[in-house]
């Protein structure tokens, strides 16, 4: 099937301006700025059913329409902080198909009336930021960015901004704090960014992949886009497949593709022909899906269906766990990550991840005692619903579902002590 987002896989040198232009690049942007009103652009995106690809799945057009038109200037920040363990799709989009992302970002800016956009990249994407700077300079030269674009009144500039190694900056209000030159700690919400964002001004923040969807939606129409995917999850998604599979990588597929197709048809099956024990569909933030019956693998990957098997699709970073993996080991890994990345602002997360890290460490090392599993579960449950942002909540997902869905692994681990 022809790719809609990963078009560089079909067309050689797609990350060069000439090739992108030859393939109708920037036509949707030019058409939007010269022939459509911002409201009309937003309406098409609303009608397409596009939902945010960063993990939360919030309807994109609706987010744009929340922008406060009584307070100016407006900003857009592209979330290129890709840091969820198991997620590596935005990087491929920006490297392979940078102009489609930048065009989508430009269209979004026009739709919300922003004249400045920042692309917040995780600090590790050092080379990628330099690469995007080149692409932005090429767009300025071609008249796609700058003042009085396409002979009209609209002007737009884009800048990259590098983070410096902090997962929390992927949380949108922490990202704004970081961009303002502060420690990346989440803000108390409300107010939400469309009314109080960067420098206190109305701001829309979307994920890289979300922006990359916008040019094809405007070029081919909302109905075309809705015809892909499922009723509740329109369009295509780049699934990042990792873990114990033969062919890990990014796979662009319509929503509603089953786990089995992703893992076996595209991913080449499980390493050493073992069986799938569990799936984390949204990276380290996921609940652990127990794969104890073949039907689980036939679940379609869309927001609503994944919920029926006790997890969220999130950013669709599918980590495959085979039957050689012990869940007490796995939970120690995820908790270690969240403990390291907790920003320290709110007590339940700062203390909770610390204690979960201690307890899972001793369980994994065989120093745990039977009461430890209950203690761990208790700490995790105490945190739930009490943290300032989603990070704290996410840190408990694998812990709670690991203990509840794979009790034997934990029993075995503490009985050795």
């Amino acid at each position: 099937m022809e790719h809609i987002l990963l078009r560089h896989r079909d067309i050689a040198d797609f990350n060069t301006l000439n090739v992108y232009k030859k393939n109708d690049g920037f036509a949707a942007y030019k058409n939007a700025v010269t022939k459509m009103t911002p409201t009309e652009v937003t309406q098409v995106v609303k009608d397409s059913g596009l939902r945010g690809r960063g993990g939360a799945g919030f309807p994109t057009g609706m987010k744009w329409s929340f922008i406060d038109n009584k307070n100016w200037p407006h900003y857009i920040v592209a979330n290129a902080d890709e840091s969820e363990p198991g997620t590596f799709k935005d990087r491929e989009i920006m490297e392979g198909n940078p102009f489609q992302f930048l065009e989508g970002l430009a269209i979004a800016c026009y739709a919300v009336g922003a004249n400045v956009a920042y692309i917040y990249l995780r600090g590790e994407f050092w080379e990628l930021a330099a690469f995007l700077d080149q692409k932005i300079a090429e767009m300025e030269k071609e008249g796609y960015l700058g003042d009085k674009l396409f002979g009209g009144e609209y002007s737009l500039r884009m800048y990259t901004h590098l983070g410096a190694g902090a997962y929390i900056c992927g949380e949108e209000t922490a990202m704004l704090e970081s961009l303002e030159g502060k420690r990346g700690q989440p803000r108390v919400r409300p107010p939400f960014p469309p009314s109080y964002g960067l420098y206190g001004k109305p701001t829309v923040i979307n994920n890289v992949e979300t922006f990359a969807n916008v040019p094809p939606i405007l070029a081919r129409g909302a109905n075309w886009y809705k015809s892909l995917g499922t009723a509740d999850s329109a369009g295509v998604k780049v699934f990042s497949l990792s873990g114990r599979v033969r062919k890990p990588g990014n796979y662009e597929l319509p929503f509603g593709t089953t786990f089995r197709e992703l893992i076996y048809t595209y991913g080449g099956g499980v390493q050493d022909s073992r069986s799938v024990k569990a799936i984390m569909p949204a990276g380290a933030s996921s609940s652990l899906i127990l794969v104890n019956d073949e039907k689980v693998l036939d679940t379609p990957m869309d927001y609503a269906s994944v919920r029926t098997i006790g997890a969220d699709l999130g950013s669709a970073s599918v980590i495959v766990i085979d039957d050689t993996v012990r869940m007490d080991w796995l939970v120690n890994k995820t908790v270690h990550f969240f403990n390291h990345e907790s920003c320290g602002k709110c007590t339940p997360c700062r203390e909770g991840t610390y204690w979960m890290s201690n307890i899972t460490e001793r369980i994994r090392e065989g120093r745990g005692v039977p009461g430890d599993v209950d203690l761990l579960l208790n700490v995790a449950k105490q945190m739930q619903g009490k943290c300032l942002c989603a990070l704290g909540e996410f840190s408990t997902m694998a812990v709670v579902t690991g203990i509840e869905r794979f009790p034997e692994d934990f029993k075995k681990a503490v009985s050795k002590a």
């Binding site: 935005d90 590790e124 030159g181 420098y199 766990i321 993996v325």
Partner: protein, 168 residues
Amino acid sequence: MSLAKKYPKEIKQILSKYPPEHKRSAVMPLLYLAQREEGYLTKAAMQDVAQIVDITETEVVAIVGFYTLYHEEKGGKYRMQVCTDLPCALRGADEFMNSLCANLGIKVGETTADGSVTLEAVTCLAACDKAPMFQTQGPDGIKYHENMTVDRTMELISILKRSVREVR
């Protein structure tokens, strides 16, 4: 020499990205600039950054402490940052790291005797399908090294070690 005197062009270019009334936004790119030569941030460099963006030195130090890619202490010329997070670990990252430690005769967090390489374990670098992998943070920025083997990594380390010797 102060940062402002050493890099006037770069500082001007960095400040131009942000509204003049919000120049504090430039603190992160300026810290990268200040860290470029020594590989870590000296007290004087942090004071310079504070002065340029007009915030207190304490605020700058708080920012430096928050983000993992800024360093307050001298490390090796190159920091080799191996991802040992869950997806990489499922593809052998822990074993890879142990082999590197054994080959170099150092523990995670330590620096080789010649001061060329500091070995660090880091969290996810968004390259989970290409494990084992690591990044090197050095004077020329950050570079990814993916689908690595222990042998190829040791080759790279010997190149890095040679480059440190030659500079001396």
